[in-house]
């Protein structure tokens, strides 16, 4: 795997085929836990680790797995990894585990993970699958953090509150700008609004870039934008 291939995978995961923004996968945890930045960061890291490890394992075992039993095997691998992650969170980040609650075990049902196993890891080398897991996981994590950041800022008027849940040590109140905020942002509708806004922004940037590309390269018939 070359550096170019690595960058290509990262770009695909973070932007071009971002699991949340483009593929619209894993929306349940995305919408449910992003009421604060630290929640988004915690679930983002957990998903990233599970996705990367599951990609590696699926890719490493792809030669022995027959087509007709591949789905139960993906489920086995993913469920085991998630259980391990849950135990690790309980042992080292108990506060964050309490805050994320059921959404840590529910990573099992995040369809972004089984989708990457099926679409990518089962057909590519271990190295490529590793980079794909990193890219896709990072894309998902960054989106979780961004939405968590916005909802926390608008809904609670704070930035980076409760970071101690992840880092340990003294309780962190974060940067409190105003006391209390616009409640709607941390309620479920706020999650949908924020996600819609993020998807719209991405499409806007893509369209602008395509327009700029067409303007500089007249006559070019190259297809741009998402391919899926």
């Amino acid at each position: 795997m070359t550096t170019g291939g690595f960058l290509e995978r990262m770009h695909t995961g973070l932007w071009r085929e971002n699991p949340g923004l483009v593929q619209l996968l894993g929306l349940c945890p995305l919408l449910a836990v992003t009421s604060t930045f630290v929640n988004g960061l915690g679930l983002g890291i957990a998903t990233l680790v599970v996705l990367t490890c599951s990609n590696i394992l699926v890719s490493a075992t792809r030669r022995w797995i027959r087509q007709d039993i591949r789905i139960p095997i993906y489920v086995l691998i993913i469920a085991s990894l998630v259980t391990c992650i849950e135990l690790i969170f309980k042992a080292w980040f108990p506060a964050l585990d309490r805050s994320l609650g059921i959404f840590i075990p529910l990573i099992v049902t995040n369809c972004a993970i089984v989708a990457r196993a099926e679409i990518f890891a089962s057909r590519n080398t271990v190295a490529a699958s590793f980079f794909d897991g990193l890219g896709m996981g990072a894309g998902f994590a960054v989106l979780l953090m961004a939405i968590g950041f916005i909802r926390e800022l608008i809904g609670k008027g704070s930035i980076f509150a409760d970071l101690d849940m992840l880092l340990g040590g003294e309780p962190v109140r974060g940067l409190v700008l105003v006391d209390g905020g616009w409640l709607l942002a941390i309620l479920p509708p706020g999650a949908f609004f924020s996600l819609a806004l993020a998807v719209a922004l991405k499409n806007h940037f893509d369209r602008k870039r395509d327009a700029a590309r067409r303007a500089t390269m007249p006559g070019s018939a190259r297809r741009t934008g998402p391919t899926t």
Partner: protein, 210 residues
């Protein structure tokens, strides 16, 4: 055909075995830390409901489990943590559940001094609406602190209600079901304590279940 099935079965079994090993190893590595974390968290979450109480040993040292049916709020096993100083009882801490919250059960800690006054109320777990009912939570507002120092004599039992219902306690704007459920649970716990005071402190501690 059947050879394929057997092969698939063996592959699945092998991968299942490896995955089980992985989980078992992680469990072994983390079990001790997780148990210590949960114990520490329990102690930390119990102590605030015993504000002003001076006691010896740990809060969880003398736990009493009251299996249902009982007269405490909630219909699952109720926990009572008793604390002592110089072998004399000083307070009891009740972990009870209000079943009639707006969005599911509300788990409440009720600390009661041996004289029957409330030493502290803490909301342990709830799913009440953010911004409305969730102000019962001590991290959201000071609402639960109004019960400190109160007892069944102050106010009398019939006045253990929200002001809007003709009682003595502050309501929360936009939420009535939630605070009502909490007040009822506290009152019922006080009534239980009043009726069973001597018995509570005499019973031997429940066996630690592993």
């Amino acid at each position: 055909m059947s050879g394929g099935v057997i092969k698939s079965g063996i592959t699945l079994a092998a991968i299942a075995a490896i995955c089980t090993l992985l989980v078992a190893a992680t469990f072994q590595l983390t079990a001790e830390r997780i148990a210590a974390n949960e114990q520490a968290w329990l102690e930390r979450s119990l102590e605030p409901a015993l504000s002003g109480v001076i006691f010896e040993g740990s809060v969880t040292g003398s736990k009493l489990e009251i299996p249902p049916p009982h007269d405490l709020p909630g219909n699952d096993t109720a926990m009572i943590y008793r604390v002592f100083a110089e072998d004399a009882p000083v307070a009891a801490l009740f972990a009870v559940t209000a079943r009639d919250g707006y969005a599911g059960p509300i788990r409440i800690l009720v600390g009661i001094g041996v004289d029957g006054t409330v030493t502290g109320i803490r909301i342990v777990d709830h799913r009440e609406t953010p911004g409305l009912g969730d102000r019962i939570d001590q991290s959201r507002s000071d609402w639960v602190y109004q019960f400190d120092g109160r007892s069944l004599a102050d106010p009398v039992e019939a006045r253990w209600l929200l002001e809007v219902d003709g009682g003595e306690f502050d309501q929360l704007t936009g939420a009535s079901v939630t605070p009502r459920a909490v007040i009822n649970a506290i009152r019922d716990t006080l009534i239980y304590f009043d009726a069973h005071r001597d018995e509570i402190f005499l019973l031997p501690a429940s066996e630690e279940q592993l």
